[in-house]
């Protein structure tokens, strides 16, 4: 039985400043479904990108053996040639092409450059049959639901004669029914000798189909559990995923929490494109003076969407609900009004949404509050320089001068520029979305210190973070979000990683008991 189809040995992958994978070993037996689990940022996706050649040979250390032969993939076509197909979380289908056109994209059934449509279409029909999808090969992708698109992706993998199928969070955007179907399909493939690697946050699914489970944490393999020998509980998996040293990573803070300064009630938001999809459902949250409130949940749980919809309806349509500041209803229907009402939102994606990279540090810091440094529409440049120099010193932004371009700063310093911008707008309520993502440990500590200082100055802070230790380390109260709903709320003193993780991961029914 121990016929190993894939073995990855001592894989190490570093990004500038971060070790994403540290000596990871991982192997898959022929004809099994192997689940790969771990927190956000544990290194699952990175490992799969190394495997499929997205990170080409030479950019990582270690060896990969597939069917007994060493592989040195330079790109994704090489890995696909040997039968290794990865299906990403973000589907890679072209929306305005038909199923058949997508099916053989890059792999066209053609003679002398002329596509044989008859063969393409009949082959497509055959493949769709195998994945149990009853659609015409001529249907445009854009006219299909996500569940069906996922099946098309799998059929596409079959067209490439897949031997090992890698699925990155395949059910993240599927409903119950479609998820069920997809998992059935994986079990069927298993019968036909196709192995799968399943990356998933939904532990119930993992438990249902996986033959073995490998747990990654902080870029290292923690353990591999064999599900056939003994029954593995979800708690057992969670314990493997969390449980790390948590001492002295967070600066202490003297707590001085006052009255509620901001509150939203019955907040509902719909997706801007798929208008019948609800991204926030009946959300009620509040923040007190001097309080740091954590918003925990997986990626895609709707935290950023909620935060941006509160920040001047910057996301979503058909937003309903009311917002209160010091008990009075406020209008936050535009970003301008939200800022005027003392709300600030520091984005999770500082490069795309936070900074004007091609401009100077100074211009970025003052952008949200130009009124403060100008009179009658004319910018007072000496004053701007004085103010921005102050922020540079206060937040310890390392730059050659405040006239340096934001582009040339490190991630941690860019984040400090974003924070400076919002501090300069002097808000009362600060929503910080993943403020420590992608920055090193030292800079993280500095950001925590700034958060603490703001709280002790009496501001209310809502912290969105995917890192549980961070949420537990600096928050006073924690909300847990899943599928656009608040599914749990607890004081930090009563919270533990296991407890929060349980709310995050387990299915709805369990929580409501």
């Amino acid at each position: 039985m121990s016929d190993v189809i894939l073995e990855m040995r001592n894989i190490t992958k570093t990004f500038p400043g971060v070790k994403a994978l540290d000596n990871v070993s991982f192997s898959v037996t022929r004809g099994e479904i192997h689940a790969l689990v771990g927190e956000n940022g544990a290194g699952k996706s990175t490992l799969m990108k190394v495997l499929s050649g997205i990170y080409p040979y030479g950019t990582y250390h270690g060896e990969i053996y597939f069917q007994g032969e060493e592989c040195r993939f330079r790109d994704i076509t090489e890995s696909e040639k040997v039968g290794l197909v990865i299906i990403h979380q973000e589907l890679a289908l072209i929306p305005f092409l038909s199923v058949a056109e997508n099916m053989f994209l890059g792999n066209e059934r053609a003679k002398n450059g002329i596509i044989d449509w008859n063969e393409s279409i009949s082959k497509t029909a055959e493949l769709l049959e195998r994945v149990g999808l009853h659609e015409s090969p001529n249907t445009l992708i854009t006219n299909m639901g996500v569940g069906k698109q996922q099946l098309v992706e799998i059929a596409k993998a079959l067209a490439k004669e897949v031997k090992l199928l890698i699925l990155d969070e395949p059910t993240a955007s599927l409903n119950e029914n479609d998820s069920e179907k997809l998992l059935e399909l994986l079990l069927q493939f298993k019968e036909h000798g196709i192995s799968s690697i399943l990356i998933s946050h939904k532990l119930s699914e993992v438990n249902k189909v996986a033959d073995s489970i490998t747990i990654l944490r902080d870029g290292a393999t923690i353990e591999t559990l064999d599900c056939k020998k003994d029954k593995i509980t979800e708690d057992r998996i969670i314990r493997g995923m969390v449980g790390r040293d948590m001492t002295h990573r967070f600066p202490p803070r003297e707590k001085n929490i006052g009255e509620v300064i901001f509150e939203v009630r019955d907040w509902n938001v719909y997706h801007p494109i798929h208008e019948d999809r609800k991204v926030s459902t009946n959300v009620n949250i509040s923040v007190r003076k001097g309080e740091v409130v954590g918003l925990s949940g997986l990626m895609g749980a709707g935290r950023t969407e909620l935060a941006m919809s509160i920040f001047g309806h910057a996301y979503g349509t058909r937003i309903s609900g009311t917002a209160y500041r010091h008990g009075n209803e406020i209008d936050i229907s535009t970003i301008d009004k939200a800022i005027d009402n003392g709300i600030a939102y520091a984005t999770e994606d500082r490069k795309a949404y936070g900074l004007v990279l091609i401009q100077e540090v100074k211009n970025n810091i003052t952008l949200a509050n130009l009124e403060e440094i100008s009179s009658r529409q004319v910018i007072n440049e000496p004053q701007e320089m004085r103010v921005t120099s102050e922020y540079r010193d206060r937040l310890n932004i390392k730059c050659s001068s405040i006239q340096q371009l934001a582009l040339n700063l490190s991630g941690g310093n860019q984040q400090k520029v974003v924070l400076s911008k919002w501090l300069f707008a002097s808000p009362e309520i600060l929503i910080l979305d993943e403020p420590t993502r992608g920055i090193d440990v030292g800079a993280k500590f500095e950001i925590y210190t700034i958060i603490n200082r703001l709280a002790s100055e009496g501001k209310g802070i809502i912290l969105i973070s995917s890192e549980l230790p961070e949420i537990l380390g600096i928050c006073d109260r924690i909300y847990v979000m899943r599928d656009g709903k608040i599914v749990g709320e607890m004081p930090a003193s009563e919270a533990s990683q296991e407890k929060v993780m349980k709310y995050i991961m387990t299915q709805q029914e369990v929580v409501e008991q």
């Binding site: 004007v356 004319v378 000496p382």
Partner: protein, 387 residues
Amino acid sequence: MKTLSTLFKNNVREYGMLIALIVVMAFFQFQTKGVLMKPVNITNLVLQNSYVITMAMGMLLIIITGGIDLSVGSVVAVIGALAGVLIVRYDFNWVLVVAISLLLGAAIGAFHGYFVAYLKIPAFIVTLAGMLIFRGLTIALLRGESVGPFPRGFQNISSGFIPDFFHYDGFHITTMLIGAILSVLLIWLDMRNRKNQQKYGFEVTPFYFFVIKNIAITAAVMGFCYLMASYKGLPNVLVLLFVLITFYAFITTSSVIGRRIYAMGGNEKAARLSGVNTPRLLFYTFVNLGVLASLAGLIVAARLNSSTPNAGDGMELDVIAACFIGGASPMGGVGKVIGALVGAFLIGVLNNGMSIMGVGIDWQKVVKGIVLLLAVLFDVYNKNKNA
């Protein structure tokens, strides 16, 4: 010395263009045996380029937002046609017509801006449509023929000169006086700026460089005024241009609106999430260019002393080229008024110099195309070198 080389490195684009302009001018000065720099030709050069420069100020703002406006040539034509019809056929007072034209220009800009900013239709398409619409309307208004001539007052918009208060024969003393005042003003501004920078501990250029720079600028200003004064003095258009250039240089460097336009062009989403009302801002950049294009339309009509169906034909390309030669980026967020100005002059000198030399319109276009390509190539080269 170190600061001098960093200064050059940071402004290699501006200095490069300025040097290119000087080289090109020297070349034509030599090739035309001194005709280029003759007072009468300099006056012509200014008049010929006035509409390109006028529109380049507005086009630059739109290009900084990441957009483009292809319609300006047609707007020049339709405004000229309207002015011609109202003044010549219907005997309207020309001052009133100027006011109507500017308002209509704003309305045309608002028309484009509404589609681009609020309905999110790409600027290229909207203004391409506008280009066709307004050219068509021009021909309809003029019924396919030229309309003219205009009354003296209207003609003076472009062919008049500022009055001389000293009445000294053969030399325009007011012009020299204005030049002197301007020189003093420029030196004072530069000194104040330098002091401010020193106060905040920024590196400044060595003092001797500061002195040399100001002597050079003063010499250029006074030399130019001397040339003008020995002909008929400063043209009205030049005064208008000076006001526009100063105004837009100020807007782009020191105003809240300018800062927001650059932020929007550099990263629209970040600007919006910082509370900038980006659609409204975009809308007003189009309104602004509409007004400037109508102003250019009036200048063109006044200069030709008639409204013609093909006025301003292809002018949008000269305007856009001036901005790109001057270092604006088609991706948005980058561009300077002074760059667009130098770009416009470079094109103007090329047009003028080659015409004097007798180079045909065919080869003129080839040369202009090559210059545009070289200027952008220079940008790309610099960017790659710095990265």
